[in-house]
């Protein structure tokens, strides 16, 4: 029973980490169709932002709370720069985008090495997040609870933004039919830029969360980028709720299979399941139905 509960929690927690890493991507890749290989480096930038903020402020608790919005802005600005300088010249050229953003990711990694050194750095977790909470004899690490809550908050805020605000309506309209949206007076250029800002900002937030879990070094992003793309593809391109379900299903599957086998086998099995699933349902869990002909 305890094992059951703790593994379920581990799965949900793993899912929430995947979700945070993938949420921004769900917006930029899912909604806008931009394959941004530098998304992982925006996550890395968020993690380094947390490191810089902690060194400036000293206090671990305060710096975590300051880091979250700071990393959102840093990630967002990086995204905005990428969009304005490179991507907007190559919408509808997905292969070029892939190569260019991959190049940008290499540049950002080298930049991180030059600025912060090749050795990993440490961001201390605040005292109120250290250690576990015991419920029914099961220990839940507080950092993982924090990330779970953060992921849920991020999803709720993003969904509300898309569903209830004028900006959200413009984003959805642009996604569903770009030319029709344009002819109804929506500035799709501006909408693209804001969408990219928000999506990249979410990557920054994910980076701050990841400082609680793992190492902070120049290859932080590469550890997560593939999983993040998997979540978006399995969830169904163009859907936030698809990404949410996919992240949690993959997280729980990984931790359950890992418990009865090993970490390496679990990775292989989960990947095989994804391949099999996409064979049967190439469009992912959810499909956006639009009236456009393409």
């Amino acid at each position: 029973m305890e094992i059951l509960l703790s593994q379920l929690f581990n799965g949900l927690s793993g899912g929430s980490i995947l979700l945070l890493a993938a949420l921004g991507l769900a917006l930029t890749f899912g909604q806008m169709g931009v394959i941004n290989m530098a998304h992982g480096e925006f996550i890395m930038a968020g993690a380094y932002t947390a490191f810089v903020v902690q060194n400036l402020l000293g206090d671990a608790g305060l710096s975590l709370l300051v880091s979250l919005p700071a990393a959102f802005v840093v990630g967002g600005l990086l995204g905005l720069a990428l969009e304005a300088l490179l991507l907007r010249r190559m919408y509808h050229r997905p292969l070029d985008t892939l190569l260019v953003t991959f190049g940008v990711s290499l540049v950002l990694q080298q930049l991180a090495r030059d600025v912060f050194g090749t050795a990993g750095v440490d961001v201390a977790a605040p005292e109120w997040l250290s250690g576990p909470v015991e419920v029914f004899g099961v220990a839940f690490p507080k950092t993982r609870l924090f990330i779970l809550v953060l992921a849920i908050v991020a999803v709720v805020v993003l969904s509300a933004l898309l569903a209830f605000t004028p900006l959200g309506r413009r984003i959805r309209a642009t996604v569903q039919n770009r030319s029709l949206a344009e002819s109804s007076g929506i500035s799709t250029r501006r909408t693209d830029r804001i969408t990219f800002f928000v999506g990249s900002g979410l990557a920054g937030v994910a980076g701050v969360a990841l400082t609680l879990m793992g190492s902070i070094s120049s290859n932080l992003g590469t550890n997560y980028i593939v999983d993040a793309f998997l979540v978006v593809v399995v969830g169904g391109v163009g859907q936030i709720k698809g990404a949410v379900i996919a992240a949690f299903v993959l997280g729980v599957a990984q931790s359950w299979i890992e418990y009865s086998t090993t970490a390496s086998i679990a990775k292989v099995v989960v990947l095989a399941l994804i391949v099999a699933f996409l064979q049967a349902r190439p469009q992912g869990i959810f499909v956006v139905r639009t009236r456009s002909l393409v």
Binding site: S6, Q7, G131
Partner: protein
């Protein structure tokens, strides 16, 4: 001590194929005037002699191997300032292994045949060493390899100045046994070094009445240790033996602490975490945990104080020194000792003279074993302190003779087969 078996096999295959090609196309390099010199074209007639440094200056291993390069450079500068080796100044030819075993093999070939160096120093991962081995053997040249590794190897063309298993893993187990550990949990990265190490650990445990409660491997670069830590916690062993490599250690120790586990309740003994890595893990996440090496920056000896001071003077006051760096530094001095004892730069003469060559290294006195080309080293178990440095907690007292095939340990029969 690194990288997967598959890659290693591919690397070895590629290198063997390449060796054939190069072998056929190479110019005749055996200069009759140098006679016995195995590498053939080494020029020792002038006032200087060329040596090769082969480290990954780019790629994923650069972070570790740059520090080894720096220590080698420091040793070379010191030796040159003190008059050189047998009166000859050292001229360094540095090459980048680029974290690729095949590149290591290519550059080794280039250093031996193209640059005609007298000896090559470097390599870190076991895959890079295994890739270079046939190159050094077929050219009858010399490699000095400075990193602890999984043992079960001994080439007459390689000198191993890092620890083999009976100088690191076996003493670590002795230490845990002495501290009263009756059960162990094994956690490692999924590749050759941890798998081999764990085979040895299980054989030791069986012979010493220690129960192995679990054995878990994580893929290299694994970032989520919640399930593995759950298993460790549920198994409730007396200690954890950790052979994880790289970034995974950070995620593992953060998870370990957050799950409420401590160094007092269940110590985690690591064999791949040195002074360099502590900063990235965060001192608070790992303080009090034991590690096993043969050298720490905190060793209190005149030789070490000088080494640390010289290193900081050359590369900056915040730099730390670690076991592989010290082993690299020592390797150059050992080669100097061998050359001066042999009164020759020729490979055959050095091989003959190597046995018994000693050096008062920062880690203490080390002696070359002429049979297996490893060196006798003192094993030290250290604990990570609040200052981020490692402080010796237990020592084997005297240098341990290297035994890469564990032949002198009755419980290990069958491991090397």
């Amino acid at each position: 001590m690194n990288i997967s078996l598959a890659r290693r096999l591919v690397a070895v295959a590629t290198v063997s194929a390449m060796g054939l090609l190069v072998g056929c196309g190479a110019r005749v390099s055996d200069d009759p005037s140098t006679g016995a010199a195995g590498a053939g074209c080494v020029d020792t007639s002038g006032s200087s002699v060329k040596i090769g440094f082969l480290n990954s200056r780019s790629g994923t291993m650069a972070i570790s191997e740059n520090t080894v390069y720096n220590s080698l450079k420091l040793a070379a500068d010191q030796i040159n300032a003190a008059g050189g080796v047998a009166g000859k100044q050292l001229a360094i030819v540095a090459e980048d292994g680029a974290s690729e075993p095949t590149t290591f093999a290519e550059k080794a070939e280039k250093l031996i045949r193209g640059d005609c160096v007298a000896a090559v120093f470097g390599g870190w991962t076991s895959s890079s060493r295994k890739a270079m081995l046939p190159v050094f053997e077929s050219n009858n040249a010399l490699l000095f390899y400075p990193v602890q590794y999984e043992g079960l190897e001994s080439s007459k063309n390689i000198f191993y100045t890092g620890a083999t298993t009976n100088q690191q893993i076996v003493p670590a187990l002795d230490y845990l046994k002495e501290k009263g550990a009756k059960s162990l949990f094994l956690v490692g990265s999924d590749y050759v070094f941890p798998q081999t190490a764990n085979k040895i650990i299980k054989a030791y445990a069986k012979a010493n009445g220690i129960e192995v409660k679990g054995e878990e491997y994580a893929p290299l670069g694994h970032t989520d240790f919640s399930t593995i830590v759950s298993k460790v916690k549920a198994a409730d062993a007396d200690a954890v033996f950790n052979t994880l490599n790289g970034d995974s250690n950070v995620a593992f120790f953060k998870e370990y602490k957050n799950a409420g586990l401590t160094a007092d309740a269940m110590p985690v003994l690591s064999v791949s975490i040195a002074e360099e890595e502590v900063g990235g893990i965060g001192v608070g996440n790992i303080v009090g945990q034991p590690v096993a090496w043969n050298y720490y920056q905190t060793i209190d000896s005149a030789q070490n104080k000088k080494f640390v001071a010289d290193f900081k003077a050359a590369y900056g006051p915040t730099k730390v020194t670690s076991d592989p760096m010290e082993a690299a530094y020592t390797s150059l001095y050992l080669w100097k000792g061998m050359v001066e004892k042999a009164k020759s730069f020729a490979v055959a003469d050095i091989q003959k003279a190597a046995g018994g060559v000693t050096f008062d290294a920062p880690e203490g006195k080390v002696t070359v074993n002429g049979e297996n080309h490893h060196i006798a080293k003192t094993a030290l178990i250290g604990k990570i302190g609040q200052d981020g440095l490692i402080h010796t907690d237990w020592t084997s007292g005297k240098p341990i003779e290297p035994d890469p095939y564990l032949k002198s340990y009755p419980w290990a029969t069958g491991l090397s087969g």
